[in-house]
Amino acid sequence: MGIRETAEEAYREALPALAVSAVGGLFAGVVLGGMRAELRAVEGLLVLVPALLATRGSVFGSFGARIATGLHQGVVEPRIDFGDERLRAAATAALANGVLVSLVAAVLTVAALTLLGDRVAPLPVMLGVALIASVLSGVVLTAVVLLVVFAGYRRGYDPDTFVGPVVTTTGDVAGVFFLLVAARTVLTLLGALGGGP
């Protein structure tokens, strides 16, 4: 194949997945654009956003790839069964790792901004937002990945080809949406306690 044919083939194969993922990214952006009040109220939250989104993408991308491999190997049945030990272990590991890394990212963000002398919300506030956001988005993404991968597999599609875009698209939207929910929850709790961040 010459340069032109190679370029055309690569372009054609990549465009649909990139376009779908870009639409998801734009909707995530709209939610982020709508939470400017929360971003102002919880100082340093914007700094945490890339780490939270990337963690979500890696954890659930890997979870999806693992389920896809399990289906191909025949060690996982394509139905949601919480009695299935393998499925339960993979889901628990994804959820636990996602929450743990999000909490570490919150600590690192507060530490870095404090060292730089920037204003940052207190550590408990950042930890609370990271905890709520990572638990809620983790539960939703576990369900979405399982439902989409199993439904696709039963209809005869190879999950390897679609699990990546599904995770990046829903991961970004769910990640930012639950970040907004978490920030509002923590701010409401603080308001109820009479303190402000």
Partner: protein, 185 residues
């Protein structure tokens, strides 16, 4: 050999990578933080943030996956005239030129739909397109350097190139968006 299906084994395989990654992403978070005032004033630019990071990472990871496969099949040679190398590099830039103007206008339209915009649609389009093209060129450079390094160090590019490229492109996405915002607004 795939990882065993237990919480402990999966965690042991994933956690170190995830922690390093979180540290790298903190770098791009700090760049975003430096731009916070301007982003909070212009909703269309804030809308651009996740989609620019995501598309940059996707462009890099697709290119890296394709070059890794060509490398494994033995059809890749590190020569600027190599068909696979040059063809995929051209496709990456072409994809950015196609997608980023649509992304820019999409970001402005969505921001206008849900609220008030402070920038002209043309400005947002120019920011998105220039950031996108710069990112595509950087993604090609980073992918080539990393794939070549993997080849020289006899590492499997599947293990190394894709995570490195995806994360470097994530960070570069924010840095380039920052530069484009400073230059054009």
């Amino acid at each position: 050999m795939p990882t065993e299906w237990s919480v402990r084994a999966i965690t042991r395989a994933m956690l170190p990578v995830l922690l390093v990654l979180a540290l790298v992403e903190l770098g791009s978070g700090l760049v975003l933080g430096a731009l916070e005032d301007r982003l909070l004033r212009s909703p269309s630019l804030l809308v651009l943030v996740p989609v620019t990071i995501g598309t940059a990472g996707n462009l890099g990871s697709i290119l890296a996956a394709r070059l890794s496969t060509a490398f494994h099949l033995g059809t890749l040679s590190f020569d600027p005239g190599d068909d696979t190398l040059a063809g995929n590099a051209v496709a990456t830039v072409a994809l950015a030129v196609t997608l980023f103007p649509v992304i820019g206008l999409g970001a402005w339209s969505l921001a206008a739909l849900v609220g008030r915009t402070t920038l002209a649609p043309g400005t947002v389009l120019v920011v998105a397109l220039s950031a996108g093209v710069a990112l595509a060129v950087l993604a090609v450079a980073v992918t080539l350097v990393t794939t070549y390094a993997a080849y020289r160090l006899s590492l499997d590019p599947d293990d190394m190139v894709i995570p490195v490229v995806t994360n470097v492109c994530d960070v570069l996405g924010v840095v380039v968006l920052f530069a484009a915002v400073v230059v054009f607004t």
